[in-house]
Structures are given as C-alpha cells and as structure tokens.
C-alpha cells in the first residue's frame, strides 16, 4: 500500500494494485461519518467495436449496450438484487454509464465490509436470460423517451453531432429504442467478459473506513479472483478529423425561449501536459466569460442573454469548450463570443485572484468525501492518474504560459446549434 499525500491539503490517498490487476484508491477520513465506494469499469457507450475475450472476430455491439448492461447487472441469479441488499443497511446504491465508464456504487455509513464484498461480487456475477433482457427493453425505452423530452439534453446531443464527424460520442449513451431492441444476452456476456475484468477496472473508496480492513476484503473476494482473464482488450480505434462536422444547425423544439450552444473543438494531440492545458483554458473561461467578467456585464446591458453556462470537456484527443445561453439573438451572441476570444487581454492581477480562488476551493472540496472521489475518478479516466500536487500546480500558473497556450489555439474551429421555439 502506497501513501500519496495530497500536498497542502492535509489528506492522503492510499494506493495499491492487486495481483488481479485491479487498481485500488482509498481516501480515509476518520473524522467523517459516511463512506462512498465506487467500482468502475473502463467501459462506456463509446466502446462499441472490439474482439470479445475468447473469440477472434471483431464485433460491433448495438448503440446503448453499455447502459443496458449497467441496468442488467442489478438482476442477480439468487433473486436478491443489489438495491435490496444495500437497502437492508440503509445504504444507497446506484449505477451510471458515461462515454468512457460504467460505475456501480454504494454510499452509506454502516456495514462497510459486507457492502464492499458484495459490491465486488455482484459486479462480477452477471445473470442474463432472454426473458430478463426483453423485460429491460421497456424500462430503458421509457428512460430514452424521457431524455428526448428535455431540451438541454437534446441541445447537448445536437452539439456533439455537429462537432464530431466520427467519434462515438455522437451516439447517445442510452442508444435508441431501435438499437436497444437488437441487444441479446449473448452480446451482454461478450461485453462483460471482455471489459469487466479486474485489470480494466478501478475501485475508489473515500470516507469513514479502515484501509487495511478494506484491502483484506478485496484480497479475499472470490468473484474478483475468478474474473481474471489475463487477456488484452483489442478495440477498433476511431480517428476523429480535426475539423468540426457542421458549422451550424438549427432545430425547433417545444420551448418558449430560444437557446444557443456554441462549441469549440481544440485538438490535444500535440499538447504535452493536458491537465495544465485544461487549467489554462479554465482560467481563460473564468476570467473572460465567468461571473466576474466584463463580457457578461456587457451582454446583460445589451440584453443579449439571460442564462449563460460554460463547460469544458476532454473527449478523446480533443478538448471541447462549450458556451450555452438563452438568447433572443443567438447569431449576435455568438459573434460577441468570437470577438471576445479574438481580443483577449488577461491581466496579471486577474490571474492571481483566480489562483487564490482555486486554491481555497480545493481545500473546501477535499473536505467533501464524494466530491474528492468524483474528482479522483475524473482525473484517473481523463489523465490516467490522480493529481496529488494540484495546489502546487495552481501556484505555478503564470501569465507567460497562459498567453502562450491561448495563442496556440485556433478558436474558429467551432459549431453552433440553435433551438428555436416551435411555431404554433
């Protein structure tokens, strides 16, 4: 067990890679009452084409398979499902699927060892039958329809489709009603055997628990031992071209206020330190478009927007900057964003102020067990490892590097999606 100190934050992470290949990260908080354990397969909606373990031919699974599988893991052969098991001690349990991961988690404050043992066991015990796979299709169809009614979801989906030409993030995480109808138990078993092997998974635990005790449970878990395959995962790699797919798209929806999303696609292939690169773009976004920006003030005076959100996301070899707003004049609003990006002049003082803010926020965040866990998972999935010296990195940010970073970017490689209210 290796101790990794989170510098300047009074907190340590304990790490161990087990013989099964499973990587375990533990963040103990003796002073808190609750714990969270997240068991994560590095397998999400974008992993669609691969050679199943034990077979030799590449297959392509229907869209929405990862999410479907997540649902089906909650059905166990003995009839006791994980919800019931967890609920007996009042522990909450759930799961979620993203582009790159599927995660299963327990959060509670009693029965730590039993819950941990059970979490590892059920995730490695699939029980798929023709009948239970059929049954799930109805539930998931409802879920998909629900999302299709939400304008923010639709806007996000349309923007991704406009930005990416080939990448699998073009596909909805849940798939479509049509695609999930093609899912069979055989497909699910193929996926499970291939991607749910311990060497493709991470376990992250934070909160009130004992690390030694946790490791004992993990090392003795039978299901985990049996899940080892020692086979490499072979997947089809998709090459995403630099250019955006569509510069502009307009749709109509059952809404009252016009919404606009503007997404900039920035290639990361040449970037050496992606974490720092992302931080500098975060700084820029905060200073130029954030709550304390002159831009926002001006847009309000011009009545060009009411709500305004910024997002930053790394997808594959691209960083996507997204600007979403309610605006009566979306064209003009996007013009203003472009103008602002072309004439940025960030002051030393603004940068220093934001560094102070980020360092303070980091202290507050590490005080929260779930947020700490979420951030670690994000870093592991996005950057390959946890980042223990964030405070030092924040301190090291400087204007020279910031300017250099910003100057290296082509901000004009972007897509715009407008959602208009449906005409009566």
């Amino acid at each position: 067990m290796k101790e990794i100190k989170l510098k300047g934050l009074d907190q340590s992470v304990f790490y161990e890679e087990l013989s099964s290949g499973l990587k375990v990260y533990m963040v103990p908080y003796p002073n808190k009452s609750n714990y969270a354990m997240h068991y994560i397969a590095k397998y999400g909606s974008t992993n669609t084409t691969f050679i199943p373990v034990g077979k030799d031919k590449m297959i392509k699974v229907p869209d929405g398979s990862a999410h479907f599988l997540e649902h089906k893991m909650f059905e166990q052969e003995d009839g006791v499902d994980p919800f019931t098991f967890a609920a007996k001690t009042g522990t909450s349990s759930n799961a979620s699927t993203s582009y790159k991961t599927t995660r299963y988690y327990f959060e509670g404050n009693t029965g730590f060892c039993d819950n941990l043992d059970y979490l590892l066991t059920f995730v490695h015990h699939p029980y798929f039958t023709d009948q239970n796979v059929e049954k799930e299709k109805g539930i998931i169809a409802e879920e998909i329809m629900q999302y299709d009614d939400e304008v923010d979801w639709v806007l996000d989906e349309e923007l991704r489709k406009a930005i990416f030409q080939k990448d699998n993030t073009r596909i909805d995480i849940g798939g479509t009603i049509e695609s999930i109808s093609q899912i069979t138990k055989e497909i699910l078993y193929d996926i499970h055997r291939t991607f749910y092997q311990p060497s493709n998974m991470i376990l992250v635990i934070s909160g009130h628990f004992d690390c030694e005790e946790a490791l004992e449970v993990i090392k003795h878990n039978q299901a985990l031992k049996e899940a080892v395959t020692n086979e490499k995962i072979i997947e089809e790699k998709i090459k995403e071209p630099k250019e955006v797919n569509l510069k502009k798209k307009e749709i109509e929806f059952n809404i009252v206020n016009t919404k606009v999303a503007y997404g900039i696609k920035i290639p990361l292939k040449e970037v050496k330190d992606r974490y720092k690169f992302n931080l500098y773009l975060g700084l820029m976004n905060n200073i130029v478009f954030g709550l304390s920006s002159r831009f926002r003030e001006r847009m309000k005076q011009l009545k060009l927007m009411t709500s305004f959100y910024l997002e930053r996301e790394i997808i594959g070899d691209y960083l996507i900057l997204t600007y979403i707003a309610d605006s009566k004049d979306p064209e003009r609003f996007v013009q203003e964003i472009k103008k602002e990006l072309a004439n940025m002049d960030i002051q030393e003082e603004e940068l220093e102020r934001l560094k102070k803010v980020w360092i303070s926020s980091e202290v507050v965040m590490v005080d929260n067990i779930v947020m700490t866990l979420e951030n670690m998972v994000y870093d592991i999935i996005t950057y390959g490892d946890i980042i223990p010296n964030k405070v030092d990195i924040f301190r090291s940010l400087n204007k020279e590097e910031l300017d250099k970073t910003l100057n290296s970017i082509d901000f004009s490689n972007a897509s715009m999606v407008v959602v208009h209210p449906k005409k009566a």
């Binding site: 002073n31 808190k32 009452s33 609750n34 919800f83 019931t84 609920a87 007996k88 001690t89 009042g90 522990t91 909450s92 349990s93 509670g108 404050n109 009693t110 049954k135 799930e136 109805g138 539930i139 998931i140 169809a141 409802e142 879920e143 998909i144 329809m145 629900q146 299709d148 009614d149 304008v151 009603i177 059952n254 809404i255 009252v256 206020n257 954030g290 709550l291 304390s292 920006s293 002159r294 926002r296 003030e297 309000k300 005076q301 009545k303 009411t306 709500s307 309610d326 102020r353 934001l354 102070k356 803010v357 303070s360 926020s361 202290v363 507050v364 005080d367 929260n368 067990i369 449906k422």
Partner: protein, 424 residues
C-alpha cells in the same frame, strides 16, 4: 457537536459547534406568512439583493469581492414552507485557519452588506440590475413548460385546489412581474426586513464570544412583529373520489402526478410514522412502487412518492407511456390499499427504519443539512438527531396502518406526450 440557542431580542441566534468542517457556514432565515401576490416580488427581491448592493453595485463587483475573500460563497434562496415563505441568506467561508486573520469579520460584513444595504440609490446601476433581472425572470416564468415533470406537478396542485398555498407558482406570475417597479421593491424590502421572523444559524469551529460580538454589531435586525399563524396546512375533509385530469403536450413521455391529501395526524405520526409509511410505499428502490410498477411490470422509468409534511400532502410521480395510464393508476391504488390493510412485512418496516437511521447519519457530514435539522425542530417540533434515532424505532405496524388509512388520493393528473406512438 454542541448546540446553543441565544435570544437576541429581535432574532434567535443558533450556534452549532463542531470541528468536522473546514468551513464556517451562516444561514440567516426570514419567515413570513405567504401571500400569493407577493411571490414574484419576493423572488425578484432576493435575486436583486445578491446582484447589486450599495457597496458593490454590480454583479461583477460582488463576485470580485467574494473572490478576494478567498472565494466566500454567498447566495440566497426563497421558497414556500407550508403557509409561510422562507427567505434564506447563506454564507459559507473557509475557516480563518486556512486563510488569514480578519477574514471572518470581513466575510460577515459582506453578508451584512447584502442583507442591509441594497442598492436603491444609484439609479443607473439599479436600472441595469432591474432590467436584467426582469428579463431573466420573464424567461424563467415562461419556461415552466420546458420542464414537463415540474409542470405536471404544478398543474396537478392547481387542479387540487387553485386557492391553496401549495398551488401557488413558486416561479412567480407574469402578471405580477409586470407590476414590479422600484417603489414596490423598496416597500417590500422594508416590510420583509422589519416584520419577518428571523433566525440566524452558525455552524463550524469558531470562538463563540467573538461570533456573538460580530452578530450584535453586524446583524442589526429590528423586527417588530412576529407572525403567530401556524405554518402547517391541515385538510379537514378528505376526498371520497379522485379527480382525473389530462392535458396534452408536445413530447415523448407522459408524466403522471398524483396528489394525496393526508388527514389529521398527531406529532409522532407526522414526524415519524408517515416517513416510514412513505419509504415502504414509494420512496427509494426498496419501495412497493419501484418493485412492482417499475421492476415487475416495466411500466415506468421512474415512480416514487414524496411527502410535503407542512402541506399535509403526498405526491406520487411517474414517467409512463400513456397507454399504461390506467394500469399504473390501478397498481398505485392497489399498493396504497395494501398499506392500509397491513399487507406488508415486519422486515419492510425494519428496512425503512434502517434507511431512516442511515439518512440521519448522512446529515452529520453536511453543514446545511445539520442546520435544517434545527430548523425542522422549530417548524415541526421534530426532535434533534439523537431524539429522532430513538423515536423512529418506536414505529409499529399498527401505527403505519392507522396512518395509511388517512392518506387519500385527491387528484390524478396526466401530462400526455403526443409523440409516443412514433417511439413505441
């Protein structure tokens, strides 16, 4: 954790001492009897106060000041609780131990500035804030229909009793928005600040004498009237037959909302038995609704019940396909009837009690949730955490049956999606 209540004459000061957090959180609550015509004004005022003050006249200046105070977080919330409206000012700051001396006093000054020094004097800045907030609020009121789940609940409550406080639109009304001007805003501000019932909660690791001194100096409320109305809404008559209402909207999924009225209960029934009843029936993945409607019958992606204790209401919500409407309603009625006839197991009660205990313990890691427990003590005469742990264990099956008999369906509302046929 150490709790102390101090009578400050014009308000009650609550100190909660604990070394669990790196932050100090302050919540200033202002309560007053709710008046339908004032809701919009109230919402407008609370956002205005954190938008422009006499010292920091624009949102940008306010945000910059907050950043200088090591990212202190100050915000307001306004909502209805039974017959009252509740305006809360929150301040969350890093303990001085992690920043620098003087930050506590400076942060409290910042909060006091927001509460006591609104910007009614700088006409230009006032107009700027006014115009922007007006536009935002107009957008948000008009946007209610964009959130079908919320819209369905709002419509159901209107159908139940359009004159009851629970049917008031929390977002406000366009007709009232149009009436708002500076004079009205200023009058309402003075009314709010001088006639509300005020409570101030402070939680964290702080010196009590120092804090008391700061409070006396900075939180100089001069309230002269205390509302004596009970916050609780009681239903003298329970419905004999349920109303059914339907409305069509553009969408894929249909949203079902059912409103149930709860008859006269004593304190123990309201505070404890009702919670257990709701957990067994419809809250969480162990409930009858989830198991039977979602899992066994695949008829909904989500289905759950929730309590609105101050309104003596229980709401049931489900995302369904409209063809299943009658069957889902039938199942819901059946499960409710089973509760009243005692068709549930002792084990269900035990699971619900454990759930309740786990939820209680969850509170211990969350500053705002701890404050809520002391607030609930005043609103519902609900015990503190320790007392609740003891009381919940006393709930028996017979208690639950008696409560179940007093929960009656009043209104069934279906928001019908018109696009469903394409999907299914």
């Amino acid at each position: 954790m150490n709790y102390k209540k101090i009578d400050m004459g014009s308000y009650q000061l609550h100190f909660i001492q604990t070394d669990r957090f790196k932050t100090i959180t302050v919540r200033v609550c202002l309560r007053d009897k709710i008046v339908k015509e004032e809701i919009t004004l109230r919402n407008f005022l609370t956002t205005f106060l954190t938008y422009s003050t006499d010292t920091y006249r624009s949102k940008r200046e306010l945000v910059l000041k907050a950043q200088d105070l090591y990212a202190v977080n100050a915000y307001t919330k306004s909502y209805r609780a039974g017959r009252f409206n509740m305006i809360s000012f929150y301040l969350s700051m890093l303990n001085e131990k992690y920043t620098e001396k003087g930050m506590l006093s400076a942060s409290l000054d910042f909060l006091a500035d927001i509460i006591f020094h609104p910007n009614f004097y700088d006409e230009e800045k006032f107009q700027e804030a006014f115009q922007y907030l007006y536009q935002s609020m107009e957008t948000s009121i008009k946007g209610l229909k964009e959130n079908p789940t919320l819209y369905s609940a709002v419509r159901m409550l209107e159908e139940m009793d359009k004159d009851a406080p629970y049917a008031y639109h929390e977002h406000g009304y366009l007709s009232d928005l149009e009436k708002i001007d500076k004079q009205l805003l200023e009058e309402y501000y003075h009314k709010m600040i001088s006639s509300s019932l005020v409570d101030i909660y402070v939680i964290g690791d702080f010196d009590e004498d120092e804090m008391l001194l700061y409070m006396k100096e900075k939180m100089a409320f001069e309230t002269f009237k205390r509302p004596k109305v009970s916050q609780l809404i009681v239903h003298d008559k329970l419905p004999k037959r349920a109303k059914i209402r339907k409305e069509e909207v553009d969408g894929n999924q249909s949203k079902l909302t059912i409103g149930c009225k709860i008859g006269q209960l004593d304190e123990f029934e309201r505070n404890y038995v009702l919670s257990i009843y709701n957990m067994i029936l419809g809250s969480g993945s162990e409930s009858k609704f989830f198991r039977i409607i979602r899992e066994q019958n695949s008829m909904a992606y989500y289905v759950y019940s929730s309590l609105n204790k101050l309104d003596s209401l229980m709401l049931i919500r489900a995302g369904i396909s409209k063809d299943n409407f009658e069957q889902v309603v039938k199942l819901i009625k059946k499960e409710m009837k089973e509760m009243a006839t005692g068709d549930f197991k002792e084990e269900d009660i035990e699971i619900a009690q454990n759930n309740y205990l786990t939820l209680l313990k969850e509170i211990e890691d969350n500053e705002n949730a701890i404050i809520e427990t002391y607030l609930a003590k005043d609103l519902l005469n609900l015990g503190d955490i320790e007392e609740r742990k003891q009381m919940i264990k006393k709930v028996t099956k017979e208690d639950i049956i008696q409560v179940a008999k007093k929960v009656k369906i009043d209104t069934i509302f279906l928001l019908e999606g018109n696009k469903e046929d394409e999907g299914n």
